[in-house]
């Protein structure tokens, strides 16, 4: 059984900080926390495109509800079955990850993901999705959400 991150729309303030921490955690710095000047440095690294967070804050004009959604690491993971390269795969611990080296940006995963949780990454070259911060041990979005609107749980 995989761990999943659950958003609480009742307490999400729509600050988008999870996106910031997500970008940073998946940058070459790979750190769970970030200082403002480091972030500026990071953004300067991306010349022609903005880095893509692997989390998506939904908000809509005229609505007060917001929440941050990321990959549900589905048991049956339709994205992995649609992927034409084998880049999208389910690991033994239940996490679903994208091997961005292998991905060719065909967006079959976008066609198949029922949650709309796959994003097109930097320069729209490879799929970019939540990997539960594989290398950090703990998702940066959960750790840094100021209002505890994201929780990680085993289900």
């Amino acid at each position: 059984m995989a761990k999943k991150i659950f958003p609480k729309e009742e307490v999400c303030v729509g600050c988008h900080l999870c996106e910031v921490y997500c970008v940073y955690a998946h940058s070459k710095y790979k750190k769970p926390t970030v200082k403002a000047h480091e972030l500026v440095k990071l953004y300067n690294k991306y010349k022609d495109s903005k880095p893509t967070p692997r989390i998506l804050v939904e908000e809509k004009s005229g609505e007060w509800t917001t929440f941050a959604l990321q990959c549900r690491h589905c048991d049956d993971a339709p994205c992995t079955k649609a992927c034409i390269t084998g880049a999208m795969k389910k690991l033994e611990d239940g996490r679903v990850i994208c091997d961005e080296e292998k991905c060719v940006g065909c967006w079959s995963c976008i066609m198949a993901c029922p949650h709309g949780a796959v994003r097109r990454g930097e320069n729209k070259k490879a799929a970019s999705k939540c990997d539960l911060c594989l290398e950090l041990g703990e998702p940066a979005c959960v750790k840094n959400c100021p209002n505890e609107a994201l929780v990680i749980k085993e289900v």
Binding site: K4, L69, R72, P78, C79, T85, I110, M111, A112, G116
Partner: protein, 422 residues
Amino acid sequence: MRYVIIGNSVAACGCIEAIRKVDLQNPIVVISDEKYRVYSRPLISYYLGGKVDENKMYIRDEDYYEKNKVEAILGKRAVSVDFKNKEVVLDDGSKVKYDKLLIATGGKPFVPPTKGFELKNVFTFIKFDDVKAIDVAIKNGAKKATVIGAGLSGLKAAEALIKRGLEVTVVELANRILGSILDLEASKIVQDELEKHGIVFKLETSVDEIIGDGKVEKVKLKNGEVLDTDIVVFAIGVVPNIDFLKGTELKINRGIVVDDHMRTNIEDVYAAGDCAEGYDCVYQQQRVIPIWPNAYNQGETAGYNMAGVEKTFDRGFPMNSIGFFDVHMITAGIVMPNSDDIEVLVKHDKEKNSYRKIYIKNGSVLGFMFINSIDRAGMITNMIKEDLNVESIKHRLLDDDFGYLDLPKELRQEKILGGAKA
């Protein structure tokens, strides 16, 4: 117990992976007439275009067979199946006994009888060896290419050939490109993009004759035009690869007829993928759905049932995600309906060069085509799969920022939280 699979592509993967979830012991044998370990057909155009190298063609790790205890018999063709004695006969005369058999032989290129097809440098576009041969022809100096067929694989071939620096002409019988997934307006958007990159189209005609002395030199079209060309690529379509099973007691319509367990009419014999004809839940009839996700899902369903775990799959329907240069499109379900009780929603944003069109029948999405506005399209594919009533949200479906906030709170939370409490 011995599982045998004929065919070694994505349907086979689905089957192997399902079996190994529930049965770690019994041997699995995979037979393929191709010599490669499991690779991706859709990637052949990327290989030809120079975007992926040989290493990245393979969709599973090198130790895949070993890890899954699979014996792979590669480079040998199954020539017949003796359903009575439960054995598969190979082209070298050897026999492979099975207890449970999956037929996953996929598709083969459809080529209408054409004078000159046997000439050198005339190719089809399905297998790894096809693009390796095209690659050799290019390295030997081919400069002009003619692609027959403006469907998905034909245009992928054309895109790759342009990227390799060839002059490319695409010949298509219909009045538009990608006729199976796009309407006229959408098809124009894509054609403009392809023409911008130098691809020339000859619509509403087809090939009459291929001309050359040993090697192809010209193609004569039905409209009388004659084109100089160094290579010809046939990409008109695929048909189920089941000739070696015709005339047996196996029930075949267009493909091998399967039920929602992927069982055929013969006990212990299953079929999946491009060679099978299963239930299409949008068209509500038995159909061959020759696409990758369907092949995986059918193979997986077959695998579970072969291993004794009952699973059904009756939610298959056509869906495609494809891109050329910078234009990407996702289509699903019925995209050219011809009944009048269907509501059509359209949005063509000329500035963004994006197009969204959705068909609704009795409150459910019947199909859609999205061009250049594809993010989160899977939510809508899933609505087709779940037959969700979209009456209250339908006009939002055209907006590219459509999302969970458009769903009623209860439904949204059910989908996101899946019953758990945050």
